[in-house]
């Protein structure tokens, strides 16, 4: 039996790796994507482009505005002289933020009535707008506190002391890069496996496989193992790059990470094989794979949290293997979480893998055309 399966696995690998183009698509794009997405997929704001419109002659307003100039998160694009210039700048997206201080700003600070700093933000991307507003709020309240301290004024009755756990500097990269392990692992495994049976359906060679002494279980194993190995390989390379290149801290144990990766790859192979064995042409299989892949990536929590979705959508995500592995990979990397915390993520993936693999084995025998 093992020899038969071995022969089938060997044949699958040859089919996959002998064609230079398909070899290249398995190896190169994932690496390129990791590096590009690792840098591109960030919610951090650097270089917020802003303009100032300062009508005040005093020194305090200048001090306030120079805090923005000193901050690495902001980059000054223009100093305006009339309020008619504001709208075109924001409209054309040349700046994200316009800071406007009225003619009596410094005076009002000194006489205690307070200066109004008018902030106009381009809200086309509401997330960017909210984050920019937070940055501005931090700078302004820092300035206010310092002034009060200098002038011996009252401290605020209580102050906030905020600490972020597991990712103290709130770096998006630490969130996104481990997520890419899950995303690319799924994409590559699925595309490889999706075609494996459909291609044979199309060429008619699957019928030949069925009349060989191979049992459906043999075929299942022979089709599963190559895809599984590709997924594990892909995952390992990305994990390595995440640690070595992106320097994301790997706090947890590799054993847990790899157990998760193995189950995840099995479930990805299962979904791929199920789609593949249900379709008669490669195109159908690819489409099927795609129709699975897009929601699976989108709804997994990769870029936007599942908690923000409406409840019925959250239930749909329970079917998505990537959802579970994302949590495992992020928590093992950043928290160093152990099995007891992650167990709720392991068993749903096992069920997905079990069900999809069984269904595909059934289809091997029962779909003959």
């Amino acid at each position: 039996m093992f020899q038969r399966i071995y022969a089938l696995i060997l044949k699958e690998f040859l089919a996959m790796l002998l064609d230079p183009k398909s070899r290249a698509t398995i190896l190169i794009p994932p690496m390129v994507q990791l590096v590009i997405f690792g840098y591109a997929a960030t919610f951090d704001l650097n270089h917020i482009k802003y303009a100032v419109f300062n009508e005040d002659q005093g020194s305090l307003s200048r001090q306030l505005l120079s805090r923005f100039q000193g901050s690495p998160a902001f980059s000054l694009k223009a100093a305006l002289t009339s309020d008619r210039e504001i709208a075109p700048l924001l409209d054309s997206r040349e700046v994200l933020v316009v800071l406007h201080t009225g003619p009596r700003c410094s005076e009002n600070i000194l006489n205690g009535s307070g200066c109004n700093l008018q902030v106009l933000i381009d809200g086309r991307n509401s997330n960017t707008a909210m984050l920019a507003l937070n940055y501005i709020r931090d700078i302004v309240s820092g300035f206010s506190m310092d002034l009060q301290r200098e002038h011996g004024g009252n401290l605020p009755p209580a102050h906030l002391n905020v600490r972020a756990w597991f990712n103290p500097n709130l770096e998006s990269q630490w969130f996104i890069v481990p997520g890419i392990v899950a995303m690319l692992g799924l994409v590559v495994t699925l595309v490889v496996v999706c075609l494996s049976v459909a291609k044979e359906h199309e060429a008619g060679t699957f019928d030949q496989l069925l009349v060989t002494p191979l049992t459906p279980l043999d075929i299942l194993l022979g089709k599963t193992i190559p895809g599984f190995m590709v997924g594990m390989f892909e995952g390992s390379v990305i994990i390595l790059l995440a640690v070595v290149w992106f320097r994301v801290p790997l706090n947890g144990s590799l054993l847990i990470l790899y157990t998760g990766l193995a189950i995840y790859c099995l479930s990805a192979v299962g979904v791929g094989l199920m789609i593949s064995s249900m379709s008669t042409t490669q195109q159908q299989a690819l489409l099927g794979g795609f129709i699975f892949l897009v929601p699976a990536v989108t709804l997994s929590g990769f870029a936007t949290p599942i908690d923000n979705m409406p409840p019925f959508m959250q239930y749909i995500t329970l079917l998505d293997p990537m959802r579970y592995f994302l949590i495992i990979v992020r928590r093992v990397f950043l928290e160093g979480a152990g099995f007891e915390l992650l167990w709720p993520q392991f068993w749903p993936m096992m069920i997905i893998a079990g069900v999809t693999l069984t269904v595909s084995a059934w289809f091997f025998r029962h779909k003959m055309y």
Binding site: S22, S144, L160
Partner: protein, 369 residues
């Protein structure tokens, strides 16, 4: 006449192949539903734990602010250990902790800290939560000052206005951005697959020996898929208006024109991919996903702000057609007909379409030799 016959043949081929109709009509609907409901950056009803070790009117006035905020769903916990455990199990996103000396130090005007801990793994959500908490804190300070019979006189007050999207609804910029993803999929994936299939089956070579010219062939291939794509666009528009209530500030005709332009670019991209991939559906599909879908998702400014990316990646985004279309979409939908944004982006799209079609034209001639 020849051209007419050819377009008719292509059109019939599209209509009689359920999978291409599925891409053109089912896919946009599914995608818009998934993305429209599934992707949201508005963190609301975030679960947080509240631990009050010094109960009293001061503490409850602060926590009351958290209860009243639509952003939080607070849960009172008996001890900090319990709260930390809940944070570790991801049952809450953050902890607000008023220590035992809070009330006493508050009375003595020693400005006691309000400890806030957030789970920083999802850095973006953590930042938003921090921002919301400091918003609650600022309101509370004001309220306390009023209660004490003073007006809160901070040296600088923030008076902010968010333009174009005053409700700060992330759906308002995500749904228009989706158009780019839907049109990329229809345009590039569909054409890439179909043409690769023709090469694979040898029907393309059969076409090349007919008297039809290369130009006629390109037009014949483009027209049916262009019509399909515009059908998908109509569906997307319909859903954006009636399902997601996205406002349209600019002119509909301009939107239509820009979308048609983008569709031609996407179709051109699909043709290039299928021609270059040398007729393997496997390679064409991989390439279509990798160079069209993922960049449209990550490198277009659809979710992740381009200005925050590192320089080389920003330069790379200039090669992505989706980038220009997303800029146009977000502007027409949210800001209006801002020519200073639309003209350069539309010009870039037109240029890209031209380059793609030229490449295909050249390549197709060559294969005749």
């Amino acid at each position: 006449m020849r051209l007419h016959g050819f377009i008719r043949k292509e059109w019939l081929q599209v209509l009689r192949d359920p999978s291409s109709l599925a891409i053109a009509f089912a896919l946009p609907v599914i995608l818009l539903l998934i993305f429209g409901y599934g992707i949201s950056l508005d963190a609301k009803h975030v679960k947080i734990a509240i631990v009050t070790e010094s109960p009293g009117p001061v503490a409850s006035s602060f926590t009351g602010g958290l209860y009243n905020s639509e952003y939080f769903e607070p849960e009172v916990m008996g001890s900090i250990q319990e709260a930390v455990e809940a944070l570790n199990r991801w049952e809450v996103k953050g902890i607000v902790w008023l220590k035992s000396n809070f009330a006493r130090d508050y009375m003595k005007q020693k400005s006691p800290p309000i400890s806030v801990m957030v789970n920083g793994i999802d850095a973006n959500t953590a930042r938003l939560v921090e921002g919301y908490i400091s918003g609650v804190w600022a309101q509370w300070l004001e309220l306390q000052a009023i209660k004490a019979g003073q007006t809160l006189s901070l040296p600088v007050n923030l008076d902010f206005r968010i333009w174009y999207n005053p409700a700060v609804r992330s759906r308002n910029f995500l749904v228009p951005g989706l158009f780019a993803i839907v049109m990329t999929l229809i345009g590039a994936l569909l054409t890439a697959l179909i043409i690769a299939r023709e090469w694979e089956r040898g029907t393309m070579e059969a076409l090349l020996v007919t008297p039809i010219t290369v130009t006629e062939m390109l037009v014949g291939k483009l027209v049916p898929y262009f019509l399909l794509g515009m059908g998908g666009f109509a569906l997307a528009i319909f859903m954006a208006f009636f399902l997601f209530d996205v406002p349209l500030q600019g002119s509909f005709l301009l939107l239509l024109a820009c979308s048609a332009l983008f569709l031609v670019t996407a179709l051109g991209m699909g043709l290039v991919i299928s021609t270059i991939s040398g007729g393997s559906q496997f390679v064409a599909a991989q390439a279509a996903i990798i160079v069209t879908f993922l960049p449209a998702f990550l490198l277009s400014g659809f979710i992740f702000d381009i200005t925050s990316m590192p320089g080389p990646i920003q330069a790379l985004t200039h090669l992505m057609a989706a980038r220009y279309y997303v800029a146009i979409l977000q502007t027409i939908f949210l800001a209006g007909n801002v020519w200073s944004v639309i003209m350069p982006n539309a010009a870039a799209l037109a240029l890209m379409a031209l380059v793609f079609l030229l490449i295909v034209w050249r390549k197709t001639v060559k294969t005749l030799d």
